[in-house]
């Protein structure tokens, strides 16, 4: 459809026009001779405690509504409306901050840095979606997360990502999660915020790279359902873990699946599992042997991951500005680098001893060494866990959502002709 083809073009044109806020202060301050004193630049005041409570209330209410719409009302339309409202409130009104996705970093920093105290509101923002996921599945992703909503709205002509490619790419969210936790715990950077693809749109102001990154994701998102949520989102990893254990979860059919197959193409996120009876099965002994082998391999995978993490601890430590500065200063002082940077010039002018800088950088590199090994071990465990999960046979008599991957968006619900009233089958058309 021509209209659908227009969307990517329209989004592409959105790219370069929004970085108004990205403009740097290009002009030096005027030199007043009249005695006029420039007003002091002040930081914007933080959100008031009352508004923080309002935000938390809105989050809890939105989560509750999302769960109700998905599990009780079973209404895709209601979920869609809630999602739009959440995009407006949590995205454009609250400008995407603090969001549950980014709160991972606050929690990580608070856990590893005694100097940082995480606000209770941020803890609540971090925990509430996880708690809801534990009880009702990923209802946060369904209709509350503004990042997911932005992608959901632009999805026009979904294509199926090949399952093998999706499986390969599924390693990215744990990697991003691990890197974000490592960088935050070491006090290096808030990577999730730095590379937030949509906050620039929410605020109508960001660096050009941020706009390009977000627009690229939205363009891809017109045909690939929620690419950030599925192949990058670090919070989605935690939500997926919780959702797998959830007490209740959205179902395609309200009662018993009749395997009419009307829903089999309904999920643009590849989260719908087919019934198993039709699938070829292998012998029980072979399955058990593989499971035992993989269980034995798991420690090796963890160790290999830790080793790979150690290999990259030095480059990863350069995420920290102090390490970068120390290396820059050393290279400059030994004449191996002629070009100075703003940071190195500032350091030279500060009269701080180089030795202090080096000591701090070495200490940070040591922390990254440990952190990188742990990150590698975590990724090894993730790969091993995925292999184990794929080796366990589960029987399904009907179409079911994959609890870890399902975003509870409710798209599949209208496709099911089964009525809640047992025995009644809705006639299509």
């Amino acid at each position: 459809m021509p209209l659908r083809r227009l969307l990517p073009a329209g989004l592409a044109l959105l790219l370069p026009v929004l970085p108004a806020g990205a403009q740097q202060a290009r002009f030096p301050q005027p030199e007043f001779e009249s005695g006029y004193r420039l007003p002091e630049v002040t930081q914007p005041s933080p959100r008031s405690p009352a508004m923080e409570l309002v935000d938390l209330g809105a989050l809890a209410a939105a989560l509750g509504l999302s769960a109700w719409f998905a599990l009780r009302l079973r209404s895709r339309r209601a979920i869609f409306l809630l999602m739009t409202a959440a995009l407006l409130y949590f995205g454009f009104w609250r400008e995407g901050c603090v969001c549950a996705v980014g709160s991972i970093q606050n929690i990580a920093l608070a856990l590893f840095s005694p100097d940082y105290t995480v606000p209770i509101s941020v803890i609540a923002v971090f925990l509430l979606p996880l708690l809801f996921a534990l009880f009702f599945g990923r209802v946060f992703c369904a209709a509350v997360c503004p990042l997911g909503a932005a992608q959901d709205l632009v999805l026009l002509r979904p294509v199926r990502v090949p399952p093998l490619l999706a499986r390969v790419l599924s390693i990215l969210p744990p990697l991003y999660l691990g890197l974000a936790v490592l960088a935050a715990a070491a006090g290096a950077d808030f990577l999730i915020c730095r590379y937030d693809p949509f906050v620039g749109f929410f605020r109508l102001g960001a660096g050009l790279e941020m706009f390009l990154w977000g627009a690229a994701l939205l363009l891809v998102g017109t045909v690939v359902g929620r690419p950030y949520c599925r192949f990058l989102c670090p919070y989605g990893v935690l939500l997926g873990w919780m959702s797998r254990l959830s007490r209740r979860h959205l179902t395609v059919t309200p009662t018993v699946c009749t395997v009419c197959r009307l829903c089999e193409d309904s999920c643009p996120f590849g989260a719908l599992l087919r019934p198993t009876p039709g699938q070829p099965s292998e012998g029980r002994r072979a399955g058990v042997r593989r499971l035992a082998l993989l269980l034995g391999l798991l420690p090796l995978l963890v160790a290999a991951g830790a080793g790979a993490g150690l290999l990259v601890h030095a480059p990863l430590s350069r995420l920290h500005a102090t390490v970068r500065l120390a290396e820059q200063v050393l290279l400059e002082r030994t004449g191996k680098l002629a070009e100075t940077t703003l940071e190195s010039r500032t350091f030279h002018e500060s009269d701080r001893p180089v030795e202090d800088l080096l000591r701090r950088a070495r200490d940070l590199r040591g922390r990254f060494r440990t952190g990188s090994a742990l990150l590698g071990a975590f990724l090894g465990l993730t790969v091993g866990g995925a292999l184990l999960r794929l080796s366990v046979r589960r029987r399904r008599t009907g179409y079911e959502p994959d609890r870890g991957a399902c975003l509870s968006c409710g798209r599949c619900i209208p496709f099911c002709p089964v009525e809640r009233n047992p025995g009644a089958v809705r006639t299509a058309g």
């Binding site: 044109l13 970085p19 108004a20 005027p30 390969v168 009419c260 009307l262 120390a326 002082r333």
Partner: protein, 583 residues
Amino acid sequence: MIEPDRRKYRSAAAQAAARAAAAAAWVSGLFGVVLAALLVLNHVQVAASAPLQDETLAALRKAVQANPGDAALRERIRAYDLLARRAFFTARSQIRTGGFLLLAAVAIFLASAKTAAELRRRHYLPPKCPGGETPPSSLRRAAAAGGGLLAAAALLLSLASPPADLLSSPPPPPSSTAGAAPAGGGEPGPAQPFCAPEPVPDHAWPQFRGPGGNGTAVHAEAPLRWDGPKGEHILWKTPVPRPGPSSPVVWENRVFLTGADKETCEVFCFDAGSGALLWRKEIRDVPGAPERPPEVMESTGYAAPTPATDGKRVFALFGTGNVAAFTLDGAPVWARHLGVPKNPYGHASSLALFPGRLLVQYDDEKGGRLLALDPATGKILWDQARPVKVSWATPVVANTGSRMEVLLNSKPLLTSHDPMTGRILWSLDHLGDEGEVAPSAAYASGRVFAGTENVSMAAVAVGPPPRLLWKFEDDLPDVSSPAATERFLVMASGGGVITGLEAATGKVLWRRELEEGFHASPVIVGDRAYLTDRKGVTFVFRLADRWEELARNPLGEKVSATPAFPRGRIYVRGEKHLYAIGP
């Protein structure tokens, strides 16, 4: 049953609604396209514009610097500045408003496109034969492949990133080329380890007055006696194609010189073994250089600044304002024009080197400047203004115990600069408003010695804050620079007097009045000092409490340049020839 195509059964209202939604999508989409194009243009214009750097404003600023009292000019600058700011912020405001409009257009487009799509949507009809499920074994392989890719990426990252041991190795110890830790009359702070540059190899004499420009060799081996007219210990003698008072610099088996007349500025490279001229390169067609060189005094000429070499390139500066770099084989690397120096005698300050920086003192009548150029590209890394009058001294790079400093003698200030940024670390008014400064400073053991003829020679404990230790006012140098050790200061006047002072107190240890005056600077090699007078006679004397002349060596040719002292040899530039002296 589900119909494969429901369009013909759709109500007229639904069809009309679908058409309306499609039309709305087209209209909003086209509006968005046009708006986006306009905003793109606006953004490009704003991004490309640098209104405060344009030529008109720069010219106005220069004009107001030359004529600070011109109120009308200042008002013009203010008006221009305001115009530029207003244009910039108006453009920003337009972009922001346009951004909102575009968001609205995109929202309408999305809503209408989705509505149209929904109204025209066909229901899914499952195929009779369901597609095959991806076998778990393939999924396991894909999961393992994801892990493998991560491991490969980690390996590549570790191989491609800079070495990790940069931080692991301890910082190099302080260099011994420019003196030890502060002591004596200074107020030394606690010695701290820091990153000093690697010592210059002893086969090299990389710049005016040797490593650091401090008049001290890093070895103790130099010929004691020679006789130019008789050819004793003269290894070779070769004519220099063009005149100039600049001194030779040496790197391994190459000796570099500059020479110039009003038409041509050249760099010469001689073979240290035979004296053969290996190559000569003319500096020409430098971008920005005027066709006519500035007027200079004949005795200064255009080739007064001594070149410098870092072992990879040789750098040459001329009184025309051109500076150029060549490889040691003579291939041009870069050349740039630093502006015509407005200098009553002609520019004569020599180049100095710090790792990663080519230091250029570029004082002229418009004000004092110290520049650092990137040796690889010639790009100006920093340009530090100095509140001094024009002077002709060369920067001295010294390790003052806790850091590297660039010391510059000038009127009225002796200044110390951070070699990394050019920032003035400390300064001291040691000359007042008297004299003209050509002698460079000398540094040893926490003390800087700086002065000029008719004013004084001052000893200053390095700062901050600097502290004046003593002043000496007799038989001062006018061109020649002093040389110092922890115990002694040696200087030579234009009138022909060599004076030895006690470095700590300024007490005269000895004074020797000779027939000829001195332009060349003394060079300390071990416990000896070498000093060549204008007639070409080099006096070798011991650094001691009493005058102890070791040798008096004629060259047979007038000398203004300071000889070069790589290990075991001396290279002297006479008026017309370059000499190599050795055992």
